[in-house]
């Protein structure tokens, strides 16, 4: 039987059990969020034993070489001694510079890192409420244009971290971050390629960053952004996006509402359905999908079947489900 050593204790790994589930079952304080290998909150390091390749997917090479792995998707065949990364991969402190509601449920959070953080717009950071409770938030800011890190945090009912951000966090307070990670960002090159962006809710956060990054870097091909919410009140940054559409003739913004009759200037229907109505051929197009995991997964398959190459599809499913709740 495979055994996991953590701290002073050693636990037997159950059949088909992940290292994360095993440790959490025994009350070890390992942070996690998505439980599916996306958010990287459950990052650990193997001090002894070699973690399987599948548990290192999406990690930087430098981390892979040091035997870092994602505990939630780690099913080792050999015994492992695992440790949390904080000694080696320390989190960085940041001061809350501003908190402004973007609409009734989404908060704009500006953070000033004590040491400058190198990142690409659209990547995400992990923000920790306590050392064992962290969640991922995408970066809506662009390093060359914005002084601070910008997040758009949607408040979820009883959300442990989003609720805390909305209700308890104050300007001037210091928080801990780790990151950046993720590969959903604008890669310069092929400036004439058409870009289609589809987002729901706070899935606009990475898209807003990627969009401004692409425009700033002189992307010349058409860029279309479909942002959807159930109601008009759930849309945000509409003024800013309309201004960008006026300023850049190659950029087109389509705000969509699916749960009520659309007011003038809004499209009626879900964002991805609108997108697939207007764009039918995805051959040679670059695609960014962010937000609700079902939307992201459905849109991915549909765009692929409509001709998009897998390497041209960038996606961040936000994975907010009850299963993610500790």
């Amino acid at each position: 039987m495979t055994k996991i050593k953590y701290g002073r204790d050693t636990y037997p790994l159950g059949k088909d059990q992940s290292v994360l589930d095993c440790l959490v079952e025994h009350g070890a304080p390992v942070p996690f969020s998505c439980r599916s290998g996306v958010c990287q909150t459950c990052l650990m390091r193997a001090l002894r034993g070699v973690p399987p390749d599948a548990s290192q997917q999406g990690l930087k090479d430098s981390l892979k070489l040091q035997n870092y792995f994602l505990a939630c998707v780690c099913h080792p065949m050999e015994d492992l001694e695992a440790a949390l990364p904080h000694e080696v991969l320390s989190s960085v402190p940041a001061t809350v510079a501003a908190l402004d509601p973007l609409n009734g449920e989404i908060m704009h959070v500006a953070l000033e890192c004590h040491d400058p953080l190198e990142y690409r717009a659209g990547q995400f950071i992990n923000l920790f409420r306590t050392p064992a409770l962290g969640r991922s938030y995408s970066l809506a800011s662009v390093p060359q244009q914005d002084e601070h890190l910008h997040l758009h945090v949607r408040r979820l009912p009883q959300g442990k971290v989003s609720g805390w951000i909305h209700e308890e966090l104050r300007t001037g307070q210091t928080v801990e971050l780790r990151g950046p990670s993720g590969d959903c960002f604008y890669v310069p090159g092929r400036p004439e390629q058409e870009i289609v962006m589809i987002g729901t809710g706070s899935g606009l956060a990475p898209l807003y960053g990627i969009l401004r990054d692409a425009l700033h870097r002189g992307h010349s091909g058409p860029i279309r952004l479909f942002h959807g919410s159930r109601s008009r009140a759930g849309l945000y940054l509409t003024g800013e996006l309309r201004d960008l559409a006026r300023k850049y003739p190659n950029f087109d913004y389509v705000p969509c509402v699916s749960g009520e009759r659309p007011a003038p200037g809004l499209a009626g229907g879900r964002a991805h359905e609108m997108a697939f109505k207007e764009v039918t051929d995805f051959k040679d197009k670059r695609l960014f999908l962010c937000g609700h995991p079902e939307m992201v997964s459905a849109a991915k398959t549909r765009a692929f079947l409509a001709g998009a190459a897998i390497k041209d599809i960038y996606a961040d499913p936000f994975n907010v489900n009850a299963a993610a709740a500790p």
Binding site: S297, K300, T301, F304, L305, A309, I310
Partner: protein
Amino acid sequence: MTDKKLADWWTESHASLYAKLGGEAAVNAAVDIFYRKVLADPRINRFFEGVDMEKQAAKQKAFLTMAFGGPHNYTGMDMRRGHAHLVQQGLNDTHFDAVMEHLGATMKELNVPGELIAQAAAIAESTRNDVLGR
């Protein structure tokens, strides 16, 4: 042929097929076309419902690498284990045939000469019993 010679012949002939087809670049060119055909085929796409597209594409790439005679880590046992849950859901020869059809059509679309298509098909065919758990 002795066992040793047979093994050498197998490795050499298949390595050269992989090289003739263009190695990894050929696999990369083929994987999107192939996987798109598979996903769009109503005879078999139910086996792919709910699976993560990226992970599945990686598996399709591994399959094509093997079919093209390239380096791969599959053993008969992995093939059996990897498909056991699908066999339970009714995976059978007709589905295997459909995949073979898409493999051939993909290579045709990439203008691969018929003789090389036949070689790749023979390699893929050799996994049939393992995939179907027989």
